[in-house]
């Protein structure tokens, strides 16, 4: 990895040289009922809209790579047959400006399942290949537990990563494209004192984490506590609304829907993102539901994130962004659920 340093007021120059492309970044989206500002990713048309020092966004950037509704293909229906037309819905490269480490890690995790060896998904891959990612250092929020999930820093999956050193930005360069962009700015190699400052900033950030999840032996504990009563308690709280999956940067499950247009000449196949907490998630034709109870579905969600994905890919599917807990209408948070499941183990002893 190569490193460069550039003065803070040159950030607008970086924005300007990239502005010929579509740029998605964090921007202010209004206020919550307590008057606190809300941020979300959206297309940026003016440098002034870009809020690089945002605390966290409500949604991840999932909607840009896995749209909540996406037409997978269309059909021309003829009297004696049909023709299928597939469109991957990716037309232009897009710059993603100012992603936190957790969101970049989330994309890396999605890559494992969606572009892995078995049946790689071209809809996702087409969008993913056309991303130019600029990461940005963050300030840990009270609900962030990425440090526990090992996703507080990011090693790959970005082009450029910016860390604020006070009066300048420390840029980690991870691709030839990014190197070309940075080289056209007024920048220089970091001095020893800036290396020092970079390490200090990283350490200061580490000290700000307040929310932790104990993941030691979590896969085994989840298996041991499969029948634990505590799941039923969380199940009684859970409203099965699917909000957690909606805001989750790594929830990718979906349903397929086919529709015919009114003229009966064309049809389309649409993918809509789903949630394993919705009641009919595992219901089969004929009415049998493999997970009829709220607690079954909530438990399944935790098993998929924290056990099954670990088994398959040696890492958890959760990046610890804390969005699900922030959006949950019933105030169910991952750290609390996992702590309670671990506690249940203690009671048996």
């Amino acid at each position: 990895m190569l490193f460069r340093v550039f003065a803070k007021d040159h950030l607008i120059n970086l924005y300007d040289i990239l502005a010929v492309n579509h740029i998605v970044g964090p921007m202010s989206k209004g206020f919550d009922r307590h008057g606190a500002p809300l941020y979300d990713f959206d297309f940026i048309y003016d440098f002034a809209e870009l809020q690089l020092h945002y605390p966290a966004t409500i949604h991840s950037l999932k909607r840009f790579v896995l749209p909540p509704r996406e037409t997978l293909c269309t059909f021309d229906l003829q009297k004696d047959g049909w023709q299928k037309h597939v469109d991957y819905n990716a037309y232009k490269p897009t710059v993603y400006f100012g992603l936190h480490a957790c969101d970049i890690n989330a994309l890396n995790k999605l890559d494992k399942v969606l572009t892995g060896n078995v049946y790689p998904d071209p809809y996702y891959a087409a969008k993913r290949k056309n991303m130019f990612i600029i990461g940005a250092g963050c300030t840990p929020q009270p609900f962030c537990f990425c440090k526990s999930m090992g996703t507080d820093s990011v090693l790959h999956g970005f082009d450029l990563f910016l860390t604020d050193l006070g009066d300048s930005y420390f840029a980690e360069i991870h691709s030839a494209r990014a190197f070309a962009f940075i080289s056209s700015l007024e920048c220089r190699e970091p001095r020893q004192s800036e290396h020092q400052r970079f390490m200090e900033v990283a350490q200061e950030r580490m000290n700000l984490f307040t929310c932790h999840v104990d993941t030691t032996d979590l896969t085994k504990i989840l298996d041991l506590e499969f029948q634990a009563e505590v799941w039923r308690e969380w199940g009684r709280k859970c409203l099965s609304c699917g909000t957690c999956a909606n805001v989750c940067p790594t929830c990718y499950c979906y349903g397929i829907e086919e529709n015919v247009d009114l003229g009966l000449q064309h049809a389309s196949k649409t993918r809509h993102l789903y949630s394993c907490n919705l009641i009919d998630f595992a219901q089969v034709a004929g009415g049998h539901n493999f997970r009829p109870e709220s607690h079954d579905r909530l438990k399944y969600r935790y098993y998929h994130k924290h056990r099954g994905f670990v088994e398959a890919f040696e890492e958890s599917l959760c990046v610890g962004c804390g969005r699900c807990g922030q959006s949950c209408l019933a105030n169910i948070t991952v750290p609390e659920v996992i702590a309670s499941v671990r506690g249940e183990g203690g009671d048996h002893a």
């Binding site: 299928k84 086919e258 493999f290």
Partner: protein
């Protein structure tokens, strides 16, 4: 100003195998319904043929695998192939009319064009079973995925030992493939059929499938290490049947089940078929009994 180049995932030079994989994700074979046989009031057997002769010949599957069947604008769903693998792209699917897609199919005439993708999932290891006795135990619609291994075994009858088929249905009117029973028996197959409730013409036994399984195990003391079992039926059936087989000394890895789950992709993406976090479409639908025990909430 720096304009980023657009990357076409299918045009990337470096990885030919992957390009093929990406392009085939949404690919479906066009197939035609060549014939429809009504089996009962709600189930029909559809004979499908992949239209392109070359694709038809190249289409190969293992008994137990499934295809995703798509009717443009109506829907897409997984169905077990219930015909013999030697017939390649001339496949048979037995389908009960229960939902949008299947009710549409029930009204579809011969010649209807539909899409098939697959085959997906795992199959029954019929080759490994050679030289052994086989018990096939089916409840209700469970006979549908079992008809593929039955055909495969019949085609190589001399390589297998005793073959028992135990089949239970709710009532005589719901029995599937009745026209094939005589043929199966002529191939020296012990076929026992039991119904939950008989009718005026029913001569056979009445009761649960476990009753007849108990009798079979009691009557054949050699059932055990040299026997393979294939089980498919409604969720409640698996536990009772598999427990009895374990008691009869069948090793866990010689008992195979075919599980039903909701599926929207068949390709290990949509998560709808997950048991725990094992994809039924990739690692199943055929599991050995050890995997079933190891997975939470599989049966």
């Amino acid at each position: 100003m720096h304009k980023l180049p657009f990357v076409d995932v299918l045009a990337e030079q470096r990885d030919h195998a992957r390009r093929q994989d990406l392009a085939s994700f949404e690919y479906t074979f066009q197939a035609e319904i060549t014939n429809v046989y009504p089996l009962t009031a709600t189930e029909k057997l559809y004979q499908l043929q992949i239209i392109d002769p070359e694709q038809r010949q190249r289409f190969s599957f293992q008994p137990g695998q499934f295809v995703m069947l798509e009717l443009p604008g109506i829907g897409e769903a997984p169905f077990s192939i219930s015909s013999s693998p030697v017939r390649h792209g001339d496949i048979e699917l037995c389908i009960r009319a229960v939902g949008n897609l299947t009710n549409f199919l029930a009204r579809a005439p011969r010649g209807t064009r539909l899409g098939i993708s697959g085959p997906f999932g795992t199959g029954f290891p019929v080759e490994k079973m050679q030289g052994h006795d086989i018990m096939l135990i089916a409840g209700g619609l469970g006979l549908v995925p079992l008809r593929a291994p039955i055909s495969a075994v019949l085609e190589n009858r001399s390589r297998y030992g005793n073959i028992d088929i135990i089949y239970g249905a709710r009532n005589p009117a719901e029995l599937l493939f009745t026209y094939q029973y005589d043929m199966w028996r002529q191939f020296d197959i012990d076929l026992s059929i039991i119904v939950d409730a008989g009718d005026a013409t029913w001569q056979g036994p009445v009761g649960r499938i476990t009753t007849i399984l108990e009798q079979r195990i009691a009557a054949a003391p050699n059932i055990g290490k040299n026997t393979y079992a294939i089980v498919c039926g409604p969720p409640v059936m698996f536990k009772f049947v598999c427990d009895m087989l374990i008691k009869a000394q069948l090793p866990m890895q010689q008992i195979f089940v075919s599980l039903e789950r909701r599926m929207h992709c068949g390709r290990g993406k949509c998560c709808r078929c997950n048991i725990g976090s094992t994809y039924t479409c990739l690692e199943g639908p055929v599991f050995d009994y050890w995997s079933v025990m190891n997975l939470k909430e599989a049966i």
